[in-house]
Amino acid sequence: MKSLSVSKAVTALMLAGLVLLPLYSSLSGNIFIMTLFTRIVILALAAASLNLIMGFGGMMSFGHAAYLGIGGYAVGMLAQEGVGSGFIQFPVALAASAIYALVIGALSLRTRGVYFIMITLAFAQMAYYVASGLARYGGDDGLTVYKRSDFSGLINLSDRTQFYYLCLACLFGVIFLIWRIVNSRFGLVVQGLRSNEQRMQAIGFPAKRYQLVCFVISGTMCGLAGALLANNTDFVSPAVMYWTRSGDLMVMVILGGMGTLFGPIMGAVVFLLLEEFLSQITEYWALIMGPLLLLIVLFGRGGIMGMLGRAGRG
């Protein structure tokens, strides 16, 4: 029980920190930290969605950044065409991500293991090149979003604090949803499929259908992150979908602890803060970051959550 309390305490501390951050920012006058943490919260949302299929479902998607781009481009393209209402932009972003996930999931789930990693990567690369070819929407150079999504007075996305809390609410909402999914009958079937697909099929569960639904849910969640990210940066470009971005998301999930509810948030916070911190010390921050990742893989099994659990026991 003690091991549980250490990781629980750290998680609670982190969540409280995220909630109270705007207070600290306004007291200290540090505006930059808000910008940084809005980005962290959005990418934590993306990592949490990836964790649903990777950690709980055992589906190693190496193309999750595609949804960031799809959600972002849905917002950017609609804004460009004069549709500024968030009530249209966000549902379109989610629907587009869901449809993309449905199509590539149906095809990709025919394969398994490394082949699955590679085919999801291939589809994301295709999305990347499609976006590069969209001349009307900036092509390679990307698309500037001149006006953030308009929620007709309900919430103002251009207000730094309001936008931060919107992102945080989305993150907590998604985490809550994942918690409900994981503990539902559906979620238990998906986790069963991760452990032993043959046996689950023998009991009579249509494996692929369950996995596909899970895949689509995860993709839709990440599309939400994409729509938020485009609003945050006021810009969307093919680079959002590049495969190293998918790699970053995977790193966040594994770093925090795969298959744990709050691990991905922890991973995103630590990864992005480390990136920020190291890049302030030295221009060559990746020189430290790279070997650090290697060491975490070699010695820190189960990510930060796993280490906290062990620290509690030891």
Binding site: R110, Y115, M118, A122, A135, L293
Partner: protein
Amino acid sequence: MLLVVEQFLNGLQFGLLLFLLAAGLTLVFGIMDLVNLAHGSLYMMGAYFAATFAAWTGSFLLGALMALGATLVLGIVLEVTALRHLYGRDHLDHVLATFGLILFFNEAVRLIWGPAGLALPLPAWLTVPVPILPGIHYPAYRLAIIAVALLVALLLYLGVMRTRIGMLIRAGASNREMIGALGINIKLLYTLVFGLGAALAGLAGLMQAPILTVQIGMGENILILAFVIIVIGGIGSIRGAFLAAIFVGMIDTLGRAFLPNLLRQVLSGAAASTAAPALSSMLIYLLMAIVLVVRPEGLFPANRR
């Protein structure tokens, strides 16, 4: 006609180059079951070593030979210090750890050689156009790449199929515990295979260097292509990698060369010229998706277990 022959040869040359990269990757993947994203970094290091050594010695060939040795050593060092500890781990661990290595290598190169790219100039005797058919000339250097890559492919085939080491490598691929139990030093064997793969990647990098500029991140795009190839060819299969590499090289090159004109006949000029590069870059991924949907284990699945 001239253009078709030329592009066909370009496709062959690019395909063979991709084979060198994919062969190392598929060997490491098939035998050690290691997903090595840092393979592209070894390709990059090969190019940087070659550019540096060639400038030092003043000789292209000498520089290339030294670079080949240097990537071999680098590969062995990398295997012994880091990657060896990843065998038997989850594929996801491999992805994460070697992703970290990519970051490291890119940054190290930026630190040592600076952010600007390098050039590797060719000696005069390799820049002359060679007549291959009446009225058709082709650069000597590209022909040399084709010749070297074919030679390496042949040596690799003979080495794996006909020598004792090759036999051990194949045995290691099918059952690593068993050949360990038979008294073979499997650790040494793995290090050897990894070094060989690294040298092949370095060779591909240094041969590509005079055609493109030597720059940071040059290994990443081509690494993904190499992965596409080994997945299409079937992981662990050198024959599959060879055929898939030629196929991918052809499709990529011919697509880039002829797709814009084809599109222009269907679409308006402006739309075609923007859609064509994107579409031709997508072709290979489309091919891979189709192959995987039809044959989830690749075209030539190696008989494992």
